[in-house]
């Protein structure tokens, strides 16, 4: 990516005063893991709901020497990931990468990379609705009181209803967690498959909700526990087959519809992970030479 840095704008778009304001919110969020810190979210040049919260967090923590990776649905090449990566390449002139291990900051929508994160990395989540209790209680004044008084019984009522109705907890993504034994937190709409990766992660996890004007955080090596019942323990989504391209087991798969006669294939949602494995010689059932695939 060699686009020239955008003239007329500050490094990483936001002015320094705004960045300071956001950094203060981030520091507070780190000090109170899982607590939603209100911040004066700015209007960004991309729409609300398209990652403005994550972009503001990234813009406030990024430095010229950082290496940025942006993924959406696990992929570096989806439209919104491309757009956000291009935004930082233009406004901050930073190096970008698709390799999880090479990145110092990873901004993500809906996935946590398969490759384990390491000390010093920052994972920035884009969050649409930060309040895990929102669909049980629409009033902000009431949900803030519930957090303050640690009244989380209602969340279990929801899980109870799932089991009574379906025999399972029917929440498959945005699965609520308790952070450091205190705050109830929405992990953003990542599949619950990724929840265990949040627990005791060496990386700093920052969450930005632009439209809802909230920032929250999970500091490195913090307990993150998915809610459940003793007799209906939390379980991750499982797939019957390995990835059709790289043969990986125990990874999150996307379903690709091949034809209108029920033909399906399952491939890694994390494109970097899949590509790396294929380069190492791993092969799945349907892998073919990838040269010349349509764009």
């Amino acid at each position: 990516m060699n686009a020239p840095t955008l003239t007329g704008y500050n490094f990483a778009y936001l002015d320094e005063q705004t960045k300071r304001m956001i950094r203060r919110a981030i520091l507070k969020a780190i000090a109170i893991p899982g607590y939603q810190v209100p911040f004066a979210s700015r209007e960004m040049p991309m729409p609300y709901g398209w990652g403005t919260g994550g972009v503001q967090v990234t813009a406030s923590v990024i430095g010229p020497q950082d290496v940025l990776k942006v993924i959406d649905q696990g992929s570096d090449d989806t439209t919104n990931a491309v757009s956000i990566r291009a935004f930082f390449a233009r406004t901050a002139g930073v190096a970008t990468t698709t390799a999880t291990a090479d990145a110092t900051i990873i901004q993500t929508r809906h996935r946590i990379p398969e490759a384990p994160l390491t000390d010093g990395q920052i994972l920035v989540y884009q969050v649409p609705i930060p309040e895990p209790l929102r669909f049980l209680e629409p009033r902000e004044t009431e949900t803030r009181t519930m957090h303050a008084l640690e009244e989380y019984g209602l969340m279990h009522v929801k899980l109870y209803e799932d089991i009574a109705r379906h025999g399972h907890i029917a929440t498959t993504y945005a699965y609520p967690v308790r952070v450091a034994g205190r705050y109830l937190m929405d992990p953003s709409p990542t599949p619950k498959f990724d929840n265990p990766k949040m627990h005791m992660s060496p990386a700093l996890q920052l969450f930005g909700a632009g439209r809802e004007k909230r920032i929250y955080a999970v500091p490195p090596y913090t307990r993150v526990v998915s809610l459940d019942f003793e007799d209906h323990p939390f379980e991750v989504n499982r797939f019957d087959k390995p990835c059709a391209l790289c043969g990986a087991h125990g990874v999150y798969l996307d379903e690709v519809v091949l034809d209108d006669r029920g033909g399906r294939m399952f491939v890694c949602s994390d494109t970097d992970h899949c590509g790396t494995r294929q380069e190492q010689g791993h092969r799945g059932d349907l892998s073919t030479p990838r040269e010349g695939s349509a764009a």
Partner: protein, 259 residues
């Protein structure tokens, strides 16, 4: 020793809205296992009193002390929000006249009963469900209805569900606001019978507000007659109803059928 202390002690309680008086200068004690009926016409201040007693309204004057489970008398309005809300969902109950106000109408009967248990930290689905089944039985609701929403219940069933939802944490004090109001006479009789049994079995203390002296006679040990926001007569229920001293009470008593 602490058993000699009242469970709830109310002194010179008053609530006014600007120039208008809701209730004033109300004092009484309730001991464990005692049922107090507050009777009067609509506008007599009995509902205001109940809302202040249950801390849903702040009083203008006076104090309420409650004997906590550790035996210490505490000023309920000096409790922190967290303590007060915890009290409200564990050691206290509140039965509304309209069950829709006291129930979550969109979640199942089982979850309605189980909510308080989950709120205090129970995390075993099977145990919660077992307790819910048990309580549905005690309020005479068929266990087969456990996964139905109260929306599909009759008025009487909803009221019984609301009672089960309140009693599941074994509260020591329950406030009831016209619990039989709005129900058919035959349904009322069954509910009263059920309530009387539960109150006796569990040794509950109850403050029940009603305009129906028959309800007061059937359920309560003591009675408090209110008019224009003040208590005009108080005493043992049978005594007051059989031999009322105040002309107003005499009028009330004469206008109802004897049970």
């Amino acid at each position: 020793m602490t058993q000699d202390l009242p469970l709830l002690s109310v002194r010179r309680l008053g609530k006014s809205y600007g120039a208008r008086t809701g209730c004033r200068d109300v004092s009484f004690d309730i001991h464990a296992g005692e049922v107090l009926a507050v009777v009067g016409e609509s506008g007599s201040g009995k509902s205001t009193l109940l809302n202040v007693l249950s801390t849903q309204l702040a009083p203008t004057t006076g104090e309420i002390h409650y004997r906590m489970r550790d035996g210490v008398m505490r000023d309920v309005f000096a409790l922190s929000d967290a303590e007060r809300r915890f009290l409200l969902r564990t050691d206290w109950g509140f039965v509304h006249q309209d069950p829709a106000q006291g129930l979550r109408m969109t979640v199942s009967a089982g979850a309605n009963v189980g909510e308080r248990l989950m709120a205090v930290g129970q995390r075993h689905y099977g145990h919660i469900r077992h307790t819910a089944v048990d309580w549905l039985g005690r309020v005479e609701i068929d266990a087969g209805r456990i996964d139905d929403a109260p929306r599909s219940f009759s008025g009487g069933m909803r009221q019984r569900l609301q009672i089960a939802r309140n009693l599941v944490t074994h509260p020591r004090l329950v406030f009831m606001d016209e619990p039989t109001g709005g129900l058919d006479v035959s349904v009322q009789a069954r509910l009263l019978d059920l309530l009387r049994g539960l109150v006796a079995d569990l040794g509950l203390s109850v403050v029940i507000v009603t305009h129906d002296l028959a309800v007061a006679r059937l359920l309560s040990h003591r009675i408090m007659v209110m008019r224009h926001g003040t208590v005009i007569e108080t005493g043992l229920t049978d005594q007051v109803l059989d031999d009322p001293r105040e002309p107003y009470t005499q009028l009330l008593v004469s206008s109802v059928l004897q049970v």
